[in-house]
Symmetry: C2
Subunit: 208 residues, 2 copies
């Protein structure tokens, strides 16, 4: 039997091509993806469960790259390490973000990452009914900072007089160091506030 | 003189069509926008400064819709009101987010909104060298929560056993109330932490 000239379709190959397509900014569609892979849309449908299935394959592929190492230990360590991984994922694939956010998460690797985060918060003593809200806060924060890292060096360029923005921008850091320092400040603010909240909840439960 | 059958091109009309195009998920391009407006790309170029110019028009149009009312007063009030406006903007136009984030901000309305936020933080007593980092934290938070609001009702659907995620999801709120409560929790965590930071900075400066 002759070997095929192009590699056979596989979930990983489809996911990689979809990520490249979306990263390129050309929008996402099954037909465009099939063209990129050099196959017909119908042969693509033999491998994936439509548009939603492809998005889930992309999530799984990115999860395996950025979130496969599950942190364990104290809740604040787990939070900090998970945030860093998520921020990198979102920062390096900003165009994929709206697709990922718009669909239910089923991929095992990504579920395991959220499970580790939620479990660390439960074990750390956060009230169970609040844990998913804390996860949403952390996730939104990582999402936002992923996109922040994709900002241009010059974020604001006022065209006229400002009260303080123009002056502050003139003196400020730029680029990667700016985004890194702001991310660290945000992480510190959130962790400080979560520690305070936990201490207050523990105090309240001792008083009961 | 006969009246033209289609309205003349204007900055607002171009911006509205571009926002609709990107909202539709079809990706963004000058040619696609010209088709949608029923004009040639070259007549579009008579009105706008290329792709970047169109993105800035979109920002201005969205800024006028969501951020035109400038909050004033105590820094924490200004933060809370600005966050709510930004979250709505990002939530209602998630596909526009990567475009907006990727380009330098020049639009007067949006600059004025960031200027009001930065000025409130300066007037509130935050150290000048930290103000833009705080703005980036708040902006990232609003960005992330705008996207969170675009999440499906069912965010996680574990396919197997989990340590805690499956149990927490089964009992949790869904949809808009879930995202609203998580946003309020995040805002509370950030404001609490910023108040604490401000109090510590004031204490330190009194001791000096």
């Amino acid at each position: 039997m002759a070997r095929p000239k192009v590699p056979l379709l596989s979930a990983d190959r489809i996911a990689d091509a979809a990520i490249e397509l979306v990263d390129s900014g050309d929008g996402f569609g099954v037909n465009a993806l099939a063209r990129r892979l050099g196959v017909t849309p119908s042969s693509l449908y033999n491998h994936v469960d439509g548009r939603d299935g492809i998005i889930e394959l992309m999530r799984g592929r990115l999860g395996a790259r950025y979130l496969a190492e599950l942190p364990s230990g104290a809740w604040d360590d787990v939070v900090i390490r998970t945030m860093r991984g998520m921020r990198r994922l979102y920062a390096e694939h900003p165009n994929v973000v709206p697709l990922l956010v718009g669909k239910t998460i089923t991929d095992d690797t990504v579920i395991a990452s959220y499970d580790a985060l939620a479990t660390a918060l439960v074990d750390g003593g956060f009230p169970e009914e609040e844990v998913l809200a804390v996860v949403a806060v952390l996730d939104s924060f990582a999402l936002g900072f992923g996109l922040d890292l994709a900002s241009p060096d010059e974020i604001w360029q006022p065209q006229g007089e400002t009260q303080s923005l123009g002056r502050l921008v003139a003196d400020a850091e730029r680029g990667r160091p700016r985004s890194d320092h702001a991310f660290e400040l945000g992480l510190e603010l959130l962790i400080d506030s979560l520690r305070l909240r936990l201490a207050r909840a523990e105090e309240a439960s001792e008083r009961r």
